[in-house]
């Protein structure tokens, strides 16, 4: 009994190692991975990485330009911009990761059921998804925040919901072709339940593409989160967010560092996630040779 189990695991490990190797060989993918890992590291170990207390007020350095003590300058209360950017990374990483994970799970399950059962279920589900896709992402997120109220968790839920239709459509499209393949028919002939066929046989075949899609959506999710925070509809003060810091920066135009550095953090992180997504897509594309 153990031999088939080993055989089943071995190829997936090989696929993972091959993807990792190809990703590291992909120039932009490698840069994307390194920068994303750096942001995630800063977010995870923020208390140890931050040079100052992000809430610490220095009355003698209010709106101080970047200098040796405060590398990226200080804000209107004399708080260190760099430390606040690092703490803001915590918020952004959490929101983006959880929102995309939620959309990944919900969208995949909806797409799986819709594609597998077909018929009326598929028709109804896909029309609902089409309707949601008709909304510009930020506008739908605004509508959801309008209902739930502006705060961090609600912003995360809104970003998750706006991303569900994309995942559902992708998975559904893949399921439509996979459900007719021989191994699915064989599982059905052997008496496997619908749930087992969907989760054990079809889902593993589509998950690779969904991971790539998730990494590409992460960049958009980050920008949506920053936009909501910028508009004052994300995490509320005193929690520092990159978007929120920029909104404050708009009241102090002469202190250009308040407007430049948090934006640079958003831009570089979003760019890195795009590179990572592109790299992952190429690394997982079986048509591309090593």
């Amino acid at each position: 009994m153990s031999t088939p189990a080993i055989a089943a695991i071995a190829p997936s490990e090989g696929a993972f190692a091959r993807t990792a190797r190809r990703l590291m060989a992909h120039r932009l993918g490698r840069i994307g991975l390194l920068v994303s890992a750096l942001v995630a590291f800063c977010a995870a170990f923020a208390p140890w990485v931050m040079p100052h207390d992000p809430a610490g007020i220095d009355y003698e350095a209010i709106l101080a330009a970047p200098h040796a003590k405060y590398w990226l300058g200080t804000d209107e209360l004399g708080r260190d911009i760099l430390s606040r950017i690092i703490e803001g990374a915590q918020v952004s990483v959490q929101v983006v990761f959880l929102a995309i994970a939620l959309a990944f799970v919900a969208g995949s399950l909806i797409g799986l059921a819709s594609g597998y059962f077909g018929g009326v279920v598929d028709d109804v589900v896909m029309r609902v998804m089409d309707g949601l896709l008709a909304f510009p992402i930020l506008v739908l997120a605004l509508a959801i925040v309008a209902v739930l109220g502006p705060d961090l968790v609600n912003a995360m839920i809104a970003i998750a919901i706006v991303n569900v239709p994309g995942f559902a459509r992708l998975v559904r499209g893949q399921v439509l072709s996979i459900r007719e393949l021989e191994f699915v028919q064989a599982a059905r002939a052997l008496g496997a339940s619908d749930l087992r066929i969907m989760l054990r046989h079809i889902l593993p075949s589509v998950v690779g593409n969904v991971v790539v899609y998730a990494s590409l959506r992460a960049s958009t999710a980050l920008i949506t989160e920053s936009s909501l925070s910028f508009l004052g509809l994300g995490a509320q003060p005193p929690t520092p967010t990159w978007g929120g810091m920029l909104a404050t920066g708009m009241q102090y135009w002469d202190a250009w560092w308040m407007s430049v550095f948090p934006g640079l953090a958003i831009f570089l992180s979003a760019l890195a996630l795009n590179f990572l997504g592109d790299g992952l897509r190429d690394a997982m594309d079986s048509r591309l040779q090593d």
């Binding site: 029309r127 609902v128 089409d130 309707g131 949601l132 008709a134 909304f135 510009p136 992402i137 930020l138 506008v139 739908l140 605004l142 509508a143 925040v145 309008a146 209902v147 739930l148 109220g149 502006p150 960049s219 920008i223 920053s226 936009s227 910028f230 508009l231 004052g232 509809l233 978007g243 920029l246 920066g249 708009m250 135009w253 002469d254 250009w256 407007s259 430049v260 934006g263 958003i266 831009f267 570089l268 979003a270 760019l271 795009n274 590179f275």
Partner: protein, 313 residues
């Protein structure tokens, strides 16, 4: 062509239905008593009851939806809960701002993106191509509001060439309007220019390698004519699709850009409506925005069909 238009319109019906349900649900899904959410904790029982009756919340949900939809279709989107102004009038005042901003951004994207995309394709792997690719990749990662802020710092505060914010209607003061619209249009148009450039480059490269281009060259057609008449016409099809598909993102960009530049557009109306708990205004603005995006998507499909004769009309 009529059949194709009809088919596309029929496809729109379920989408519009879902959109209407979602927009209608904004007040329905407010946690707890919507009147409490709208009037605030300090509202008296009598005030809340009056609002419940005014909003028709005492009636069954389906009746509420049918009433709301019927009124919306007739152009009656209710009254602002804050100012009592008709939402349709608020929309009429704000729509030109958002329209001018998004149309300007599309024009900018085409005027900048298409020529640069052609140039990048013709000078493949040159420094121009590399620069265009780098700009295109960066463009999609730029948050609109940050682009706007950087433009204000550069052009308004450092160079002092343009005003940083505000809005005057085009007909009231055309010069002032254009001055005020330059930076917001650049803000929204920059990311789209990058996308259009990338798409034009890819499409041109594909088209330029096809047999009919080789035939045209072999017949002695001038290079300019080959590129502009034969290749560009075909390359424009995916470019138009990108513009159509990106309209939603463009409107999303307009929402934050209007906030950065203090412009009284539809996006600002949504954001202000959320803060002021003016849900009638939020509903109306969102409905109009989504209807606009759907209309542009439909127009894109029709342009696509008109340009590509392989699509059966």
């Amino acid at each position: 062509m009529h059949r194709y238009v009809l088919k596309r319109l029929v496809h729109l019906v379920p989408v519009l239905f879902v959109v209407s349900v979602v927009v209608f649900s904004i007040t329905l899904l407010l946690p707890g008593d919507p009147t409490l959410a709208i009037l605030g904790e300090q509202a008296s029982q009598a005030e809340r009851l009056a609002l419940r009756e005014k909003m028709g919340l005492d009636r069954p949900v389906l009746v509420q939806y049918a009433t709301w939809l019927g009124q919306a279709l007739a152009g009656d989107l209710g009254r602002s809960l804050r100012t009592q102004e008709a939402v349709s009038e608020m929309l009429a005042a704000r729509m030109p701002v958002t329209l001018q901003l998004t149309l300007g951004a599309i024009v900018l994207a085409v005027v900048v993106g298409v020529p640069l995309g052609i140039l990048a394709a013709l000078r493949r792997n040159s420094w121009i191509d590399m620069l265009c690719s780098a700009v295109a990749m960066s463009g999609v990662a730029l948050p609109y509001f940050w682009t706007g802020m950087l433009l204000i710092i550069l052009f308004s505060l450092v160079l002092r060439w343009l005003p940083p914010s505000g809005y005057v209607p085009l007909l009231q003061d055309p010069v002032g309007n254009l001055k005020l619209m330059i930076l917001p249009t650049l803000t929204v148009g920059a990311a789209m220019s990058a996308l259009v450039m990338r798409q034009t480059r890819t499409a041109m490269l594909q088209v330029l390698s096809q047999d009919f281009i080789r035939t045209a060259r072999a017949k002695g057609v001038s290079e300019a004519r080959v590129v502009l008449r034969h290749a560009l016409r075909n390359a424009l099809i995916p470019v138009i699709t990108v513009i159509g598909l990106q309209t939603g993102a463009l409107v999303g960009g307009a929402v934050v850009t209007e906030t950065v530049f203090g412009m009284p557009g539809l996006g600002r109306m949504v954001v202000e409506g959320i803060f002021e708990r003016d849900f009638a205004a939020v509903q109306g603005a969102i409905l109009v925005i989504v209807a606009g995006v759907l209309a542009v998507n439909l127009a894109t499909d029709l342009c696509y069909a008109a340009l590509d004769r392989r699509i059966k009309l």
